[in-house]
């Protein structure tokens, strides 16, 4: 029961963070701000949702897979945003 409440809280918070990231993507003025908002908020959101789901499972393999998913997402987001931001500086595209 306590776990259920925790899951609901975590998943709700996760959805809020993802939505905040999307709002940032749509509302912020330039590329670097958008990248900053989106990658951080989205990955925190995914992490919270994953955590909420881990609490629901009794199977350790599923839990490991979910955490692996999050770690991969973090690595990919860090790499992708670094690639996009670095080049924007070099080519002066970000204004």
């Amino acid at each position: 029961m306590i776990l259920d409440v925790l899951t609901v809280l975590l998943v709700t918070a996760g959805c809020l963070f993802v939505t905040a990231g999307t709002v940032g993507l749509l509302r912020f003025g330039d590329l670097l701000q958008r990248l900053h908002a989106l990658t951080k908020a989205d990955n925190l959101g995914l992490g919270l949702i994953v955590l909420g789901l881990v609490l629901q499972t009794s199977n350790p393999a599923v839990a490991v897979k979910l955490v692996l998913l999050w770690v991969l997402a973090l690595l990919a987001a860090a790499t992708n945003s670094a690639l996009l931001a670095r080049d924007a500086e070099l080519t002066g595209e970000h204004r």
Partner: protein
């Protein structure tokens, strides 16, 4: 109204909206990237329709190969500058929408009516669900056990497409090179993720016998890994040059060999015996994975821009163009 219905209606509306936006977006770039959004929405639709196999294939292909294919083909603008649709085409766009919408709704009505009346195709699948296949997963059973000939032809189509692409490639297969990007952040990321992706490939391949997954999904994921390796300049780990064509036709060859073998031993083409059928399926699937991955990688590599024009690119580098600067770039030819 249940929450399932809400999600379904939302998904259907989004698919329709994004499809229209994809087809009518004013820029090529938007069109292609919206198409990738459509791909992700379709993954969600497949999960709602109880087709995890199709969802897995779509996710593996849409996030990796299709994306790389379309996005890198974008980079080169056409000489005629047809990247933008002419302005003022709203009237014709509206007419097209009206025609397609009316026709689509009529066709949809007919299809739904037919499905309700039970005129839909007979459930061939009941056969697959009942039959005691070599492999214990309905979709893989259908693909490899009951419909082997169809799968064979599908692999043949992929091989033919790749060979055709190689044939129109002016420089021959020796020059399949992708401009690589060897910045440490990307290289170390690829080094970290490649083992995970290889693990995933193996898992999809083996998992295909008991749960959703299979040769195509594994091949698509493997192609994604091969592309990342190529993009970071690791040409040594990916078959290029004279190993290319053999790798592309390997799956087809092994499939044919299995067909001949079963014909000789069991007396029927691809008539898998219960005793060693699993081994045959695994060998064939492994060969298919290699060929599918090689074929998809080659298609992406060949559709990338080739044109060498160093002066034009230095010009665009200096001028910080406000939107979508057309860039020409050199491609390293190996």
């Amino acid at each position: 109204m249940s929450w399932e219905t809400v999600l379904d209606v939302l998904l259907a509306t989004s698919v329709l909206g994004v499809a229209v936006a994809t087809l009518f977006a004013p820029r090529r770039t938007s069109s292609v990237m919206l198409f990738l959004v459509l791909g992700l929405l379709l993954v969600l639709v497949w999960t709602r329709l109880g087709a995890p196999d199709v969802a897995l294939a779509e996710a593996a292909i849409a996030s990796g190969v299709t994306g790389a294919l379309l996005v890198s083909a974008l980079t080169r603008r056409s000489a005629a500058g047809s990247a933008e649709t002419p302005r003022g085409g709203w009237r014709s766009a509206a007419a097209e929408l009206a025609v397609a919408g009316t026709g689509g709704v009529l066709l949809g009505g007919v299809l739904v009516g037919a499905a309700r009346d039970g005129l839909r195709p007979d459930r061939l699948g009941d056969l697959a669900l009942d039959v005691d296949g070599v492999v214990d997963q309905p979709v893989t059973t259908v693909l490899l056990d009951l419909r082997a000939l169809d799968t064979l032809l599908e692999v043949a189509v992929l091989a033919a497409a790749v060979l055709a692409a190689l044939a129109v490639h002016r420089e021959g297969e020796s020059s399949i090179g992708i401009r690589s990007d060897t910045r440490p952040v990307l290289v170390s990321f690829v080094r970290l993720t490649t083992p995970v992706v290889l693990l995933l490939t193996g898992w999809f391949l083996v998992a295909g016998s008991s749960r959703p997954g299979g040769a195509f999904q594994a091949g698509a994921v493997l192609a994604g890994a091969a592309l990342l390796l190529l993009l970071t300049g690791r040409k040594d780990l990916v078959p290029t040059g004279r190993w290319l064509r053999p790798a592309v036709v390997l799956g087809l060859a092994v499939f044919l060999a299995a067909a001949v073998l079963t014909r000789l031993v069991e007396g029927g083409w691809l008539d898998l015996p219960a005793s060693w059928g699993v081994a045959v399926v695994l060998v064939v699937e492994t060969a298919l994975v290699v060929s599918i991955a090689a074929g998809l990688t080659v298609l992406v590599a060949l559709s990338r821009p080739r044109y060498v024009d160093a002066t034009a690119s230095t010009e665009t580098l200096g001028g910080a163009a406000p939107s979508d600067p057309p860039r020409r770039q050199t491609e390293e030819l190996t």
